[in-house]
Symmetry: C2
Subunit: 466 residues, 2 copies
C-alpha cells in the first residue's frame, strides 16, 4: 500500500528516528482503549511541526494514502484506529505549551501535550482549564479537541468546545489554515472552529490550539452520598439543580462500579452498607468557603428527601484525592473485570431515571449485565455492557440488538448516542438512529468538502452504507 | 422576478392576510438598523409554521427565487436586507414559547419571540437566559441565533452559541432537519448546530430553538467608574480579571458616548467632571450579597490604581435600571447624532488600550471622528465612525481606507472584524483581511453544500469576488 519510495520521502521529512515500520511499533499505535481492537497502520510517522505535517499530507493526498492522526490512545470509540492501514501520524512530539498568556487568560499549546500536564502548568500561574476527562493523566489535549471531551466538571464549566477559541489545522491536501481568532466573541464567517472540534480527526489535523481560561477557584467541598435505590440517585440529580445549585461535579456510580473499583485500586476504600444500589459524588467549588458550606447544606436538604445512608464529607485533600481516584478509575476497573462494550448515552438530566430503568430492562430482555456510571449532572451515563458468563454467540448477536434499543431509548428521551466519547469506529453504524438521511448527507458533504479524496481517518463517524 | 402565478402559490400556503406586495410594506421590511440602507423584497411573506416555510422554500428552490429570513430588523451588518429582492420571509408569526422545561433547565421556543419577552417569561419560572444584546427589547431570538449575538453579560455567561442545544431548520430546498439533541453534551457527528449559529440566515431557516438555561442569580452590585484617561479605563479591564474577578458585565463608554446619550434619553443623568474621558460600568452578580460586596471592594482596589474620579454605586433597582438604560441607549443615541458607520471590532481583552489608541490615530490620519463603547470585558469595542462635518467625498473615499486599517490592526492583535454583529452585507468585502483564500473557499463550499442554488440570503457574508 505504501511504497519504499514513499517511505523514503517521509523519512526525509521527519528524519529516520521518527518513522517506524516494525510490527511491534505498528501494533502499539494500532489500538486505543476501545474494546480489544487493534488495527495497526502500515507505517508510524512522528512529525515535529506543522510544516512536516503539511509535507506528509501533500504526499498522502497525491498518492491517496490513508492518514490517521494518533494522540494519547485513550479513546473509547476507536477514533485513532488505522482501520484501513496507511500512515499512523503520532502527534506525540507536539508536546510544547507555546504561550501561557496570563494577561488575556489564554493559552496557546500544541496538541500532543497531556491534558493533566497542561492543567498543572496553568494552575501554577493561577489559571484554570476546567475540562477533566477521566483519562487526563494520559490523553492529549489534541485528542480532547477531536472528541469534544467532557469530564466531571463539565456540568458547571462545559466541555472542550466551550474553551476552544482558535485552531491551526493542516487540511488533507496539506494546506494550513487558522479557523478563527483569539477572541472570546466571534461572529465573523462560518464557525470553522466549532466544526473542527469533535470532528474526530476526519476533517483536518490540529497542530496548534488556543484555549480560553478562567481564574482558579480556591476552595471546594466534596461529598459522597449512598442511595438505597439507584433510580432515586438519578432523581436527586435534577432536584439539586432545581434547588438553584450548580455543582462543579455531580457523578453517579452504580454499586458494582464502586465495588469493582475498590478491588482494582489500591488504598481507596469506602464502607458501604448492604442494600446500597448507587452513589452520587457531589462537589461545589468557589472562592468563599462559607458560601460552599451553605450550598453543601442545601444539597444535603435535597438528598435527604430520598432513601440514603450516611453522607461522607471528604475532610482533607488526601480524602478528596482518594474519592476522585476512585471515581476516575471506574472505567478501567470495570473494563479489567470482563470483556465489555461501553456506550456513552446522554439525555436531558431529568430523564436519567427513565434511561437507567430502560437500560436494565433491555439488559434483561437480551440477557446482559450492565454497569452504569458517569456524569449525571449532564445526563451523561456510561453504560458498560460486560460479557462475564455470556456465550460468544449471545455477545455477538443479542448485545447489538440491545444497544440499538438503548440508543432508540436515548433518542426518544431527546438525547443522543454519544455525550463525550465520539462516534469513531464502533458507533458509526448506529448514527442513523439519531440522524435522518438528509442530516447524514449534509455531514457527508462536509467530509467531502474538507477531504475530497477521503484519505483522512477514513471509515470513521459516517455509517458504512451512506 | 416573481410571477403572479408564484404569488398565488405563496398565497395559498400562508393565506391572503399574510402576503404583501405594496411598496410601503416592502420598504418597511427592506431595512434593519444598518446605516440608512433600504433594500425592499419583491414580496413580504409571513408564514405561520415550519411546514409553510418548507413549502415556500420548495417553490423558491425550484424557481431560484432569493429568500431573505427577516427577524426583528435590529441588525447592524445588514443581514436582513433583501439586496437581490425576492421573498422577504418575516418570521414574526413564530412568536410562541413552546415549552419551558423547568425540570431540565431548558426552553423550546419559536424564533420570532422577542428576546426580552423570552427572558422575562423564563425569569418568572426562576430560570435565567443570560444573553442580553442591547436591542433585546425588539430583536428576535432567531436573529440572535443568526448573528451569534452577545451583549453585556457575555463576559461571564457567554454568547448565544453557548446556549443553543438543538435547532429545527428548513434547508433551502425545503427539507426539514434537526441539528443535534436536547443535551448538554454531544459528541455525535459533525456539529451542525454550531455551524448554523452565526450563519446569518444563509444556510437554513431556523424554525425551532432549544436553549439551555441557568438558575436565576438573585443579587448584583453595579458601579460606574469615571476615568480621566480612556486608555487607562481599557487597561483596568484586564487588571480586574487578573485580580481573580469575573464580573457579570464590564462595559466601556467614551465621554462622547455618555454625553450624547444623556441628551438623547429622558430622565437619566450622571454628573461628570471636566476631563473625564471614559467610564467603566461594572457589575458582579450571584446569590450571596456578602460575597458581592467583597468582590466590589476588590474591584475598587484595582481601579484606584488609575486616575479616576468618584465611583458611583447604584443603590436601588431604579438607579441600576437607569444606568443600564443609559448604557443600552448609547448605540441609538450615537446613531441619531450623525450619519455613521459602526464597526464591531474584537481583540483579546488586554489589547484593548492598543486598539483604542490605534483607532484614534487612524481617525486622525483619515480625518474622521469616532465614538467608541462596548463590551470591554470581552475585548469587544464598537467603533462608531460619525460623519458630522465630513464632506460626502471624504466619507466615501477616506473612511473605507480607515476601516481597512482598523481591521488590519484588530487582526494584528489576534482579533477579528466582528464580535457579535455579524458580517452580513456591509462587512463582507473586508473578510479577506482576516481569512485566507483557503479558509474563504472552505466557507464558500459550506454555503454551496447547504444552498447549491444560492437562493438563501444571497450576497451576504462571503466577499463578492470570491
Amino acid at each position: 500500500m505504501i511504497t519504499s519510495q514513499q517511505i523514503n520521502e517521509f523519512t526525509q521529512i521527519v528524519g529516520e528516528n521518527f518513522i517506524f515500520t516494525d510490527i511491534e511499533t505498528r501494533q502499539n499505535y494500532g489500538h486505543d482503549e476501545t474494546e480489544d481492537y487493534n488495527f495497526p497502520p502500515n507505517v508510524v510517522v512522528k512529525p515535529a511541526n506543522t510544516i512536516e505535517v503539511s509535507e506528509i499530507m501533500k504526499i498522502a493526498f497525491q498518492n491517496e494514502i490513508p492518514v490517521v492522526p494518533i494522540g494519547g490512545r485513550t479513546g473509547l470509540s476507536g477514533g485513532a484506529l488505522s482501520i484501513h492501514g496507511g500512515i499512523g501520524l503520532s502527534m506525540e512530539r507536539f508536546n510544547k505549551i507555546l504561550e501561557i498568556d496570563e494577561k488575556n487568560c489564554q493559552v496557546t499549546t500544541e496538541p500532543g501535550v497531556i491534558t493533566q500536564v497542561l492543567k498543572d502548568s496553568l494552575a501554577e500561574q493561577g489559571l484554570f482549564y476546567p475540562v477533566d476527562p477521566s483519562s487526563m493523566g494520559s490523553c492529549f489535549i489534541g485528542g480532547n479537541i477531536a472528541e469534544n471531551s467532557g469530564g466531571a466538571r463539565a456540568v458547571k464549566y462545559g466541555v472542550t468546545k466551550d474553551y476552544v477559541l482558535n485552531l491551526e489545522v493542516v487540511l488533507p491536501n496539506g494546506e494550513i489554515i487558522w479557523t478563527g481568532a483569539n477572541t472570546l466573541k466571534n461572529s465573523t464567517g462560518y464557525n470553522l472552529t466549532q466544526l473542527m472540534v469533535g470532528s474526530e480527526g476526519t476533517l483536518g489535523i490540529v497542530t496548534k490550539i488556543v484555549l480560553k481560561l478562567l481564574p482558579v477557584n480556591q476552595h471546594n467541598v466534596l461529598m459522597l452520598v449512598p442511595f438505597y435505590k439507584a433510580e432515586q440517585a438519578c432523581e436527586a440529580v435534577s432536584a439539586i439543580f432545581r434547588a438553584g445549585i450548580v455543582p462543579s461535579a455531580l457523578e453517579f456510580m452504580e454499586r458494582d462500579a464502586i465495588d469493582w473499583t475498590m478491588q482494582y485500586v489500591d488504598g481507596v476504600s469506602v464502607a458501604i452498607n448492604d442494600g446500597i444500589e448507587a452513589h452520587l459524588l457531589i462537589e461545589v467549588d468557589g472562592n468563599y468557603p462559607e458560601v460552599l458550606m451553605q450550598e453543601a447544606e442545601k444539597i444535603l436538604e435535597v438528598v435527604e428527601n430520598y432513601e440514603i445512608d450516611e453522607v461522607l464529607f471528604a475532610d482533607s485533600t488526601d480524602q478528596k484525592n482518594a474519592l476522585w481516584k476512585l471515581r476516575r478509575a471506574v472505567g478501567e476497573a470495570v473494563k479489567s473485570n470482563s470483556v465489555y462494550k461501553e456506550e456513552d448515552t446522554v439525555v436531558p438530566r431529568y430523564e436519567l431515571p427513565t434511561l437507567l430503568k430502560g437500560i436494565k430492562e433491555i439488559g434483561k430482555k437480551y440477557g446482559f449485565h450492565s454497569v452504569c456510571y458517569g456524569h449525571a449532572g449532564d445526563g451523561n451515563l456510561h453504560v458498560n455492557i460486560v460479557k462475564q458468563e455470556m456465550t460468544d454467540e449471545a455477545w455477538q448477536t443479542e448485545v447489538p440488538k440491545g444497544i440499538v434499543e438503548i440508543f432508540e431509548l436515548t433518542k426518544s428521551l431527546k438525547g443522543t448516542i454519544s455525550g463525550e466519547h465520539g462516534i469513531g469506529y464502533v458507533q458509526k453504524n448506529y448514527l442513523p438512529i439519531v440522524f435522518s438521511d438528509v442530516e447524514l448527507h449534509l455531514m457527508k458533504g462536509i467530509k467531502k468538502l474538507f477531504d475530497p479524496k477521503g484519505i483522512l481517518n477514513p471509515g470513521k463517524i459516517l455509517p458504512d452504507n451512506l
